[in-house]
Symmetry: C3
Subunit: 326 residues, 3 copies
């Protein structure tokens, strides 16, 4: 390619553009010596933590009963040490005026708290494995669930990320969440609180927002959104940062594929929300909400003496009695 | 981090939790010396099999016409041998009371049957490449389809997984399906039966259930679900395991983006199902089903002397004549 | 597995099948010595280009202020040279009757034009980072946006792919787009024209077609389709190849989750399109389009003296006033 272009002025112009961007963005731009937590490194750390939590299933092939504890100990030692490094980078980035020694001890405390929580997190994850096994008639064993189901990959990442989020490492937590999002199509913000026995079937397209609260034994299907109402930009920029703006889903709720639940509303205990339902106000416990139905609509129009758009409906369309889950 | 926490009690508690889990789950828990098929290993095996089936396009760069057959032979030898190992792990896991020699010969027979089916599977996949090329006006060549289209990655994985599923390796098959799901957002259970000339455009969010039957030359768009009706837990746990609970799609059907087809219903030959349609009863051959339309609904309300919610509809909304595909 | 089957006839049959396929597909089949651009190689090239554009955030850990320009220069040198190789493969494939020296100079010219555009592409991408930061109340910094948000990964890939598409490397461009699609669930055809300040929140399931035109400061949510109307096969095969068949979205439009916009229609400046809306005709500037509502429909039926399907609607369903974004 020699002779077709000169790389130097391109490199120089890129350099100028970066300098301008950093001066405009002040601290929170890509501005200087500060590094940032690394997506690639956190991917490796999460792989190791998954293996430490489920050694015979998500660990490497050489792990067997006789060397399991040794594997767990050594893997945690390494993974937690590397996670410490990533959290340290986040703390330095977030608060550049704090001394490094204060940051070191803060990062160490976060890692200590996180490590001590790992057994309880494994117990929680076991409830998720069981929920998936019970919830999906296609599942043959709890091990199949653990190895195959995107829901498990998403919830392992979420439960670890959520704990780190609460301990003061929201950026590291967010990167972990996005690792799972990239692999599964399930987008759970690390701030979301999710109770035991959680299961998402299929999963692609699920979105759970930052301030959502999900009770125990909740089951979602693909394409469900637990989102925020629309936000308008105020004169001072974005409003809504930090507000409670996502739904509360109480225990034992089932939400079918494609349903959209928006705003700080409450879905009462034991409710079932049908596929593709669009819901922006609270419903009491035990509700069954389904989308109203094509046949009804066509009937209503006919009763007004107006012809139904029959040309485009040349076959029977199901009525409410055929519609799950009601 | 030294001094902030002691790893030993954490490792010990994790060990106790695993022991309890395994005793509760009996055989089908993560319980002992048994290994389980590995997602990582199966990913490499599938990469090799894709290369063996389409050597000049999905194989490594050094493959050329003159060394193609040698590459295919050597790649199959290695990949099939590794696949044998994975299937052996599945058989040991599934039936721990059978002798290892019986398992060895069963695994070898599965591999033999699978290997002999590979040429027919390649022929089937060629019909899928052609269907994608014919079905998408943005496609420039069959090679672009093979290299770029997530539909191809999904259907290669599915056709191989489905064959293994039928030969008695459902776990290995399921892991292969989930590898494709993770990469494409297309979730096809290995049990689903799919005819020649299958194409999914865009693909993200498609779900095809375990007992679905899809005819020849069927085309789907993104977000289509061929799913089961909702299931209630009986007193004896999940009902529905093994039942025929997913749709039958006959030949030459097109199903547009976001349509949801649920239950053991039949979509007759040559039908077109419009975008976002929700369908839970059978339709005869040649049907064109479209979602009824916003404008109609608003009109019906006006005719009852009630004001339409005009504040939120400040612009024209399309009537049925504008709506594809009818 | 020895003795269970003979690999040789399988390899021979696969060889025959490939030969037949290639003879039928003539030039545009997987037919001979010609190689094809490689998805794996382009993945590595894109990783390097991302690092060159955002060295401290998407580059390797050793990059710091003092060696940043050197890193950018060296990375671009290598990545552009490898990209030249891929584009050369595309040009050879597309036009096998042109002499190799003509192809070499054409590929070199494409690389020169592409390299010179990189600073402007970085400036454009900076507007996307800012749009994401302003548009999502959960974002804490522009760096979090750049590292975490699938929208950024998708738009970086898109802007580079779109430029290569315009320079005459549509296959390389398409492979780059599909790399991003696989990682994010966001499917943007490289032909689509997208203005500055573009943001997709969450993103999974978004589809933007080949001839779509998107203005400045447009925001989309997950599951939005900017697609084509359905196409029927004519007697001469596919119609519609090359036609303008996707929407025009003017400046400052917001389109909420799951909305489907189909055909060569125009969404006027500043419009808001509500979640799950299905739209196939143009709307003027400033429009607010929302899906009509379940409650209205049920009310209309009641007013006709017919009982509402109350059994399946046991709880309040929201009216239009509750519905975003109107």
């Amino acid at each position: 390619m020699e002779g077709y272009f000169d790389l130097d002025p391109i490199v120089a112009r890129l350099s100028t553009i970066r300098r301008n961007w950093r001066s405009v963005q002040a601290h929170h731009g890509e501005y200087g010596e500060d590094s940032f937590p690394s997506r690639g490194d956190l991917g490796k750390i999460m792989g190791a933590l998954c293996g430490a939590l489920f050694p015979l299933r998500l660990g490497p092939a050489f792990v067997r009963l006789h060397n399991e504890d040794a594997f767990v100990a050594q893997t945690l030692q390494t993974a937690l040490s590397r996670l410490y490094g990533q959290i340290r980078l986040e703390l330095i980035y977030a608060a550049s005026d704090i001394s490094h020694s204060a940051i070191d001890s803060q990062a160490a405390q976060i890692i200590a708290d996180f490590a001590q929580a790992l057994p309880d997190l494994r117990l929680l994850l076991d409830t998720d494995v069981e929920a998936a096994f019970l919830g999906d008639p296609a599942a043959r064993s709890v091990d199949e669930v653990l190895i195959c189901y995107p829901s498990m990959l998403a919830i392992i990442h979420h439960r670890l990320a959520h704990h780190l989020h609460g301990l003061g490492a929201p950026l590291v937590a967010r990167i972990i969440s996005e690792l799972a999002h990239g692999k599964t199509g399930i987008d759970i913000h690390p701030g979301a609180r999710i109770g035991e026995g959680f299961f998402i079937d299929h999963g692609t397209g699920v979105v759970i927002g930052e301030t959502a609260i999900v009770g125990k034994r909740v089951r979602l299907y693909q394409g469900v959104t637990l989102g925020a109402r629309s936000l308008r930009l105020g004169t001072d920029g974005v409003t809504g940062r930090g507000e409670r703006r996502h739904p509360v889903i109480e225990d034992d709720v089932v939400i079918y594929a494609g349903a959209t639940i928006l705003g700080r509303i409450t879905i009462g205990q034991g409710s079932e929300i049908g596929g593709n339902v669009w819901l922006t106000s609270s419903v009491p416990p035990g509700s069954r909400i389904t989308q109203a139905h094509v046949e009804n609509r066509v009937t209503a129009i006919r009763m007004n003496g107006r012809q139904a758009p029959a040309a485009s409906v040349t076959a029977a369309v199901p009525g409410p009695k055929d519609q799950p889950p009601g």
